[in-house]
Symmetry: C2
Subunit: 386 residues, 2 copies
């Protein structure tokens, strides 16, 4: 395996009834900005639990962080923080709220235009980020236990990412019961998002890393087993808990240490969200099979390993096995009522040109784990998905 | 699964040549006490690498920390720290050196007799523990990424443990090349120690925790595959690296979250070390088969799961399978030239009485994951191993 660093100081509180621990986790005397989304936390009782746990604390609310959180929205929170002398951020939501709160944390004391954090991934310019705590309401992105953030500029339809340990939450509360009231589509999106997070760190080429490989396969197998259970019955506590913990493990850095990674499916998927507003998890389900097919030579050994260990595909020529692997993977997404073709989402072929143009404009013309995916192959990946 | 907390802020630097990073990891202007053991680090070059990386820092050496570090020795270091105003501890060694350094860290500013930290597991009395960094020279105990410590009082032959996040290393450097020059016996001990750390967190009863179970099996399978390779050829970098990472993952808290644990094999093994000076890893290899046999009813489902997933034992009555599982496990230890019976180490039957007496004196009369292992069963476990 390759040399690596690992550092993940996020304190996790996992289980039923753990939101009440907020009172001990938030620093005494903190002036808190509580960030959240569209109000689902008011319907599922999480809002009340948070407010009860923090009664006695000074708490200001900032709601309205969108799915695919918008730079423009987040900058309004930055303004409030500067005016109100906020010193602690409590993100109550899914990946979008936590990602957005990380950007808020980073932007508050950034010298210059905070858009540079995203446009130029300028994390070295982040000064004194505000500490963050999180109450996760939607397992999917792993944002509760990492330093990654993805933000969209509405004005230009750009969806960009940054990452730094400086914005990792100090703590995250993971209560699986939040899943009970989630819309089905959010559950399927979360399962698929976590599944593909694992594959982006696994489906590359072998570097003799059995711990990382077996851990990755552990998460994939758990999502294949538990995903359909929690999708069918969101109040199944055990299935909800196993899905929630799997999603956190999928992107907390652990399975990615010392191994090559390929974030192509995410990069391409982000553009489908930016141009057409398709849910993040669904964009990944669309793009992944194309990446598997077009990058089959680079990924040959790990594709076979994935097929054997997750789908029990052990016979046939490579071509036969590859098609079976893709079919099984798509069938898994379909079992979660998630279509996997651009036409299913009424995306026209002309979007392919737009995405290729955008990659060229940003000079992302050689990506993937080997750095050899070019615009021609990007086009092939997307044409495969029409 | 059960509710849990997880918090592991240890910064890991893993790989070839990483010891040179010490200069960036140790705080500038720190006055360092470098703790180590009997001098093997002078023969394998680690001592020189550490000194070179820290040239320019104020560094005092404290050598002579024994395998099964002695309270009496460690208290000498505490005296030096108080006199010399040391403010950073750098442990360079295996589990014994790191464990010992954790106790030193905890004892320095403890009010009262530091033996209470061990005798009464008084971690709440630990004030301002000194920060610790570690350079691991022997993969085995996982001490490099946890807050656990085991210390022996020579005077009374008591081997006792304490644990708290307050003494987790700030960083640990894991360079697999340190394995190249290890005595074979230390490698086999390390493999077995890590293997049984996993089993203590796994071989209990099911609580529907597929992530924890699959991760545990990942580590077991990796040790079974990579252990004999690194034992046969310690300079095989990949095997050394995989063994090293497996041993760290075996006891950094991750696989033990939300599941029952049973530290019986360790508790009993510690007495064999205390009375007869048998290496820690070897005591575990002796005791484990007895625990499996005597506690077979409590552990029935997980024993079968372990047999199926690690040893591919899928047929026969439970009794037949159990004996095959124990035989395979012992054969693995034997393949590492580690005998598994008390008689192999010339331990007389009279030691069984002594151990039973000691458990009674300490009122450890109901232990194991169900709290139902009593002195009678303790005796049966040990008699099984004669």
């Amino acid at each position: 395996m390759n040399n690596f660093q690992f550092y993940n100081p996020v304190h996790i509180e996992f289980g039923k009834g753990q939101i009440s621990k907020l009172s001990k986790l938030v620093p005494a005397n903190a002036k808190i900005l509580m960030t959240y989304g569209g109000g689902s936390i008011k319907r599922n009782g999480v809002y009340d639990q948070v407010k009860e746990a923090l009664s006695g604390h000074t708490l200001i609310e900032f709601s309205g962080i969108e799915p695919n959180p918008k730079y423009e929205t987040l900058m309004k929170a930055v303004e409030i923080i500067r005016n109100e002398k906020i010193d602690f951020l409590l993100a109550v939501g899914g990946g979008s709220v936590i990602d957005g709160t990380k950007f808020i944390s980073a932007a508050v004391n950034y010298e210059g235009d905070p858009w540079q954090i995203l446009a130029h991934r300028d994390v070295s310019g982040i000064k004194d980020p505000l500490p963050i705590g999180a109450v996760l309401t939607l397992p999917a992105t792993g944002s509760e236990m990492n330093g990654n953030s993805v933000v969209t500029k509405a004005e230009t339809k750009e969806k960009l990412a940054f990452g730094t340990p400086a914005v990792m939450p100090k703590f995250s509360i993971l209560d699986p019961e939040v899943i009970y009231s989630l819309p089905k589509k959010q559950i399927s999106n979360g399962i698929i998002d976590a599944f593909i997070h694992v594959l982006e760190q696994y489906l590359t080429y072998p570097v003799n890393s059995p711990i990382q490989d077996r851990f990755a396969e552990s998460i994939l197998a758990t999502l294949v087993e538990e995903g359909p259970k929690v999708y069918a019955e969101p109040t199944n506590y055990d299935a909800a808990a196993n899905f929630m913990w799997a999603a956190t493990m999928a992107l907390n850095g652990l399975i990615g240490v010392g191994v090559p990674q390929d974030w192509s499916t995410h990069m391409i998927g982000h553009e489908l969200t930016a141009f057409h507003g398709i849910d993040h998890g669904r964009t990944l389900a669309i793009v992944l099979p194309g990446v598997m097919r077009v990058k089959q030579e680079n990924k040959r050994e790990k594709l076979l390993q994935y097929g054997e260990r997750i789908w029990n595909i052990t016979e046939g020529t490579f071509e036969e096995r590859l098609e079976l692997i893709i079919a099984k993977t798509e069938a898994f997404f379909h079992s979660l009522e998630t279509p996997t073709r651009l036409s299913d989402y009424e995306v026209p072929a002309s979007t392919i040109d737009k995405i290729c143009d955008r990659f060229e404009q940003r000079r992302i013309t050689a990506f993937g784990e080997q750095g050899d995916t070019d615009i021609q192959q990007l086009r092939m990946i997307l044409e495969d998905r029409l």
